[in-house]
Symmetry: C2
DNA sequence: TAGTGGTCTAGACCACTTC
DNA sequence: AAGTGGTCTAGACCACTAA
């Protein structure tokens, strides 16, 4: 009588997962070669590769092509609350002294946010609606990838009305000149002090491009965050779209129950 | 000279993805059989199945075993903001009249939230810390799966201090007696009116159990949400853990920039 | 060059659905 | 019974890494 029920690929994945989660196979550990595992389980390569694919999809394992498959390092989660926008983080210092998104980081800055691109582009529908301008109006687009401990953690693309930032450091593509916090300082200098933020977020699987850009392990979701910053008068001054590697972030919001 | 570069499985996936996203293959459409696609592309089943697996992982396609593979219906996204907790949604009506989480739904309630379980359990570490009690103290656990349009959208597990809800409808396992909003009414009746909420959220891939419980397509991430509800005095009265199918929700928060 | 992950062919077989 | 998705064997071959 057969008692199979669970296919070998599943069993292999379960075994390895258990060994990883128990700590028996520590982070960085190199898994046995596919052919070795195949022999060990008395199967061919296919089911082993399938099991490996599942573990990669769960983010437990990374495979380096000609090298081997390794137990993945667990990254520390960064908790994002409204505090990260606090005025004291950007208001009282010079722009250059403020290296952006890492203000609440206990780790030494190894590699700051890297301004990859500043461009004057036509606003798409959503950007136009958010910034209360017309579709096709020119907006400054600042596209950055933010690194932490040498690895990319999220990308963020900000949009500003052209007139709001023309001639400011925000249009300077050199990295480090004006980060997100710096952006707030610049807007304040322009007579548009930020006062209120709305964040919309949802999770999804990354596109292929995003997976490459953020160096995501297969199967790691991203959180897409849309941030609208407004003045006290409700005038929108920045619209930003972020794509975050989900395993490295958690968000926290506190609010009073409305009537 | 070979010009391959991209493997067949990738090409097949790209082709089908393009046809789906262009609307050429509408939602619900049945894809050609694996063997048909294999012949069409001049390959064996394996690469076709691999392509199909990728599309499933992206949530574009669902496969029903003996039946076929179908273009997936895109579910409408529900936008969750603090308004869903507003007092007027639960305060002025009777408990029974309030069918819970669907108060802002334009659709007719087909199937309400289903209280699956009410149990008196020992608090784990996180629950105890959140409710400011001791580990092992007894708490009421209410575990529900919420449906919408006949499909499960999220599960939510609430924890209350035993003394806070003993003898109230919250300890009644019958579905519909007290939903989330009803829970707030009950707590108010107990002299513990909710005033402030903290929500922590992050995305991850589901466990196998969650995927089954929420009927998730392969590769759909979940958002785990932790909600702490407190009185005006800051006393915690409810701790809830939700697991949401990510494709059906977006969250929205607005706050003022702190000093 | 040897060992690695990864994709593929060709074909058998199983589990499930539909008729 | 026929058609479906899905897993597997057995073995070839490719692309990449490390020595």
């Amino acid at each position: 009588m057969k008692q199979s029920q669970t296919p070998p690929s599943r069993r292999i994945a379960d075994d390895l997962r258990a060994e990883i989660q128990s700590g028996q196979l520590p982070p960085g550990f190199k898994l046995p070669a596919v052919r070795v595992l195949a022999e060990r389980y008395g199967v061919t390569q296919s089911p082993v590769l399938k099991a490996l694919a599942a573990l990669k999809a769960e983010g437990l394992v990374i495979a380096i092509h000609g090298s081997g498959a390794y137990v993945r390092q667990a990254n520390p989660v960064r908790r994002l609350g409204p505090d990260r926008y606090a005025r004291h983080r950007w208001q009282t210092t010079t722009v250059e002294a403020h290296p952006d998104d890492r203000v609440d980081s206990p780790t030494v800055m190894q590699q700051g946010s890297q301004t990859q691109d500043v461009a004057l582009v036509e606003a798409d529908e959503r950007t136009a609606a958010t910034l209360q301008i017309e579709v096709g109006d020119l907006v400054y687009e600042r596209d950055r990838v933010v690194f932490r401990d040498g690895a990319p953690t999220h990308s963020i693309t900000s949009y500003y009305r052209q007139a709001d930032v023309e001639g400011t450091p925000l249009t300077d593509p050199r990295p480090g000149i004006a980060g997100r916090s710096g952006g707030f300082q610049v807007l304040t200098d322009q007579g548009l002090p930020p006062h209120e933020i709305t964040e919309d977020l949802f999770a999804r699987m990354p596109t292929i491009d995003e997976a490459l850009k953020l160096d995501l392990p297969a199967g790691e979701p991203v959180v897409e965050l849309h941030r609208v910053t407004r003045t006290a008068e409700g005038r929108p001054i920045e619209y930003a779209r972020g794509v975050h590697a989900s395993s490295r972030f958690a968000w926290s919001y506190t609010f009073e129950i409305p009537d």
